[in-house]
Symmetry: D2
Subunit: 343 residues, 4 copies
């Protein structure tokens, strides 16, 4: 049993962390920090946890030493608190955007401000087990990637790793996301009547997550992001150029080999069926990232598709997977919910 705290526990990522951690056999939640609701019941904000917990939110000051802390704070807040938390917890797992980029110039371009803890950028291991599992085993600081970035990276990585992509040609990413990605703070833009049924291009160019993809894949990434009708769920389409001569067989093999032993990545690229390509609809609540692909062999164009639940594999679940790796526990511990169909 280890002792963990969640900071920003009243948000949507915070709620998912609590759901997963409360159900985890090796973890005791010793703090659910919320600056807005200290002293209030956790299940007042996260009603799915009724009967599962009697926990109250607490203030940051009330958290004493613990083994691990998860930072589910707004972007740009974590970098001001991380040193303090790292003194109280052996392991810090950050779910914000603050430590996802390791180049301050890139950070400033995408986040519009100076980094407050540049000396820590290299301390953080990217929380992407499929690319950084070994480093995660010894990590003391982990930075969980953005939901659309994680999807984008996982669906192109097998080909990048085998040098099958014309990297110089870059790649175009089209990401679609549900409304929970913009968090639990109410505003005109996420009012139900405004957001419902929308196809809202909120970032036609230059979404932040493209910088993460560029970092991880080493190719110029361009991302367009659209909010579609869903609460949870992210789908990232990627268009890239194959190196001459790369055929479908080779692509298929790359995916199969890469993910054969991955517990949370499934290759979904079937000839037929309603769900023959990755669709977040069947992944909600689960920690899977499904990845698929299609080729236009004449043109040498590759299209990949990735889907995940932005709050689970795109956030809280992925963070817990990192914790499991770090602690040497079975990687799927507490993460076996398979998703629902239909939903």
């Amino acid at each position: 049993m280890i002792r963990v705290a969640v900071v920003g526990a009243a948000g949507y990522i915070g709620g998912e962390l609590l759901r997963l951690l409360i159900g985890h056999p090796e973890v005791e939640v010793v703090g659910a920090v919320s600056s807005r609701f200290p002293g209030k019941r956790v299940d007042g904000v996260h009603p799915n946890l009724r009967a599962a917990t009697d926990l109250l939110f607490c203030s940051a000051e009330e958290v004493t030493e613990c083994d691990a802390v998860f930072l589910a704070l707004p972007h740009r807040v974590a970098m001001g608190q991380v040193e303090e938390w790292s003194q109280r917890a052996k392991l810090v797992i950050d779910l914000t955007g603050d430590f996802r980029l390791n180049d301050t110039a890139v950070f400033e371009r995408y986040y519009g401000e100076q980094h407050q803890a540049p000396h820590l950028l290299d301390e953080f291991v990217p929380g992407l087990p499929e690319l950084h599992r070994e480093a995660l085993r010894g990590a003391d600081m982990v930075s969980v990637p953005g939901c659309m970035a994680a999807a984008g990276v996982l669906a192109l990585y097998p080909l990048i790793a085998r040098d099958l992509i014309d990297v110089q040609a870059g790649a175009q990413f089209d990401a679609r996301t549900g409304s929970s990605g913009s968090g639990a703070t109410a505003g005109p833009a996420n009012l139900h009547a405004e957001r419902s049924g929308a196809m809202r291009v909120f970032a036609p160019t230059g979404h932040r997550h493209e910088a993460e993809i560029t970092r991880h894949l080493g190719l110029p990434a361009a991302m367009t992001a659209t909010g579609v009708e869903a609460v949870r769920g992210v789908q990232t389409i990627c268009h890239a150029t194959l190196r001459p001569g790369v055929d479908k067989q080779t692509v298929r093999r790359a995916f199969r080999e890469q993910y054969a032993d991955e517990p949370f990545v499934r290759v979904v690229a079937h000839q037929r069926g309603i769900f023959r390509y990755p669709d977040p609809k069947i992944l909600l609540g689960s920690n899977y990232c499904d990845v698929g692909y299609a080729l236009d062999e004449d043109a040498g164009r590759l299209t990949t598709i990735a889907a995940l639940d932005n709050l689970v594999k795109g956030g809280a679940g992925n963070a817990l997977q990192c914790l499991n790796i770090r602690m040497g526990w079975p990687e799927t511990l507490g993460l076996t919910f398979p998703g629902l169909h239909p939903l």
Copy 2:
């Protein structure tokens, strides 16, 4: 051409009023009053009106004399402004709850505060053409009923008018509504992620609209109101007790007779078909209220069903229908959009 102003023009009812009035051949909109957005473009808030109008929102002070003013204000604000507006406009059409009840004690019970203009309660003619058409022809003050009340009244009135209902037994109303009914002001409760897919009983007993129904039908009404997944649309189910001996034939005839010449009420009670009972899904944007019924003859129980678009027949469209009547214009002028299927 008459000159009209809309007060509260940045809200959802205000937006529908503008859409309908801009498309009306006998009306010129001379003021779109918004306390939040004076000087801003109307189509910045109501994007469906792009290319339809270059109107700017204005302050209340900027509205000079006009022929008619529509008050689309928050509940409890209209009653403080109505005297002032009635000095500037010959006709005041109020869409708030402030003048829907004509008994101050009932008002206080349901709205939780004293009425600020009790002397005007009897001046207001209920804006329900199907019950008050004659009075509306000479009205200077009109109070448009609540959306769920209008639906509830219209689906029971034919039987009440013919004394076919056991009035003493009262009636139970179950109303379901989309999210636009709670207005354009953002808050935690109408955040997309919270409201999407909900079946939210926001008034298990004692919804305000039951008081309106009681007033119009003269029977004790009890209403339960639930928010369901929709932006627009209201459906009100009513359960009442038939007088002994009233059979299906009689009920059918009552509905047919009552609404034979009504331009905006359709009787929908078919033996088969997907849309054999009223469903707001096919009414969005239209001024129709569809009404239907079913009987359990053995038990003497009657179930009626009514559906409408809360922003149109449940608000702005109904208000315009009242204006058309008051001005002696064809009642359907500017209100002929039939609704979409599928949608």
Copy 3:
């Protein structure tokens, strides 16, 4: 480890049974019977089970002896097969409507045909642990109740059991349901474009589930059923008359006492909060039935609200809970998923 088979495994209830049984530590699924897809992969139809199982559908003939069989067949099919299945399996758990009523006359009225196995009606124990737990411990045949009936019964039972309801006055049930309740067979009525956003009154009076409620509660029940926009989820509102003098305190106590030790019923009736009454939105995938209530004390009227996931507590999950009881296992085994928020 016991050996179980699911008959009708390609339907939506069948899929949920497989999801739950595959994740259950004491169960081995030895047959997933589908007349349409024998030999095909289970995860081709239930894509959420990819990576969870390599099971193939089989024909009924391929199922040899087993410990328990779940019948997730269309209504009216189970009664023709039950004797045969009961010879192959010690325990038969039926999820159809065929054995929910114990009076053939009532069955005929509601199902429109003669019962094919009337001699078995009394053999079946109702699969409602909250009312029949003791009988279930020794049952060889279990009939799982209808989803809307289960919700309706659970929200009124505490008061019926304490004789707080005027039973002669009857009760009105207003049920709302998602589209998965009508099964996986495609037709015009459940085409996405037709069903999406609907408020479809498919049973204004006389829904079958009212007969089940009448059986279990012993009061005349009338049910109206409406399809609303949702895939999963049922909510049943009930209006009943309190016996004179019954106050809110008494009602609250009845609910608290009745369900204090129930693992899957939560009393949800709060003063404030977005989810202060039962809403299926936060229950999807979980085995909870949330129940709540509100009173109009002046009028002596009680309104109760119940919500559940029709495929889980309204079907597969409830069936598994019955199995757990029958086998003497912990009642929550394999049923601990708490539901997601937001979703």
Copy 4:
């Protein structure tokens, strides 16, 4: 008054044609041809037309001579019937894919079969007023473009027309569509429970509409098409490469100039606001195609966004606009519905 017939009148496009034509002041509908429902009421299939029409469906044989006929048939059916219809009607407006491409080889590649009327391919004028208005004034045969193609073409055409795009680099189109695009025929794929909330990549590469775009814009187009949660609405994103030196100013001017006088194309590319880029949500029922753009000037990348209602500007409305042009009527006649907000 001209006499028109709609063939395939029971489909979704057929229904929209009827809605628009019934409301059109210069048109009389003399035939609503349906092979499935001859003799049945039109409003039994299109319930939004209740009270608007008493029309019955008829068989093809019952349609005598008329001035114009609209073919809203399944793809590949129109090409077998067009000669016959052209003998009965002076003007044929085809809404299928059969005459959208003017190259039989390309047709065969995309539609998988031989063309049955290749000699007519050049007779058809593309029904895209914004590109072919003059030709439409004298056309006897019109082929209305695909919904996603129309959107894609309109959002890139201003730049193509001014030679601002690197045509050789091609363009990537990412299209999202509601479920009504797949028609009114029920099947497992468009079952509500399966389709609801989906992000379904049904054409990762090689969607048919890319061939239309290539034809109209003269650049190699690649299209990915995804079904998202919506009944109506299409959004097409396009990624293209600007010629060196083309800046935002130039792009803005191209759009403004191109569409300054177009009645149904609005340029939507604002600095702020919830609807600052084209979103079909506010276009449903309207004949608008909104187009917008964003640049990554450093990379020379252009992203355009187009949105429309697939059944209106992507089908029936566009067809009626073509008829208005052909007849010399005001182009907006019968097409002035502005769309709803919120919806």
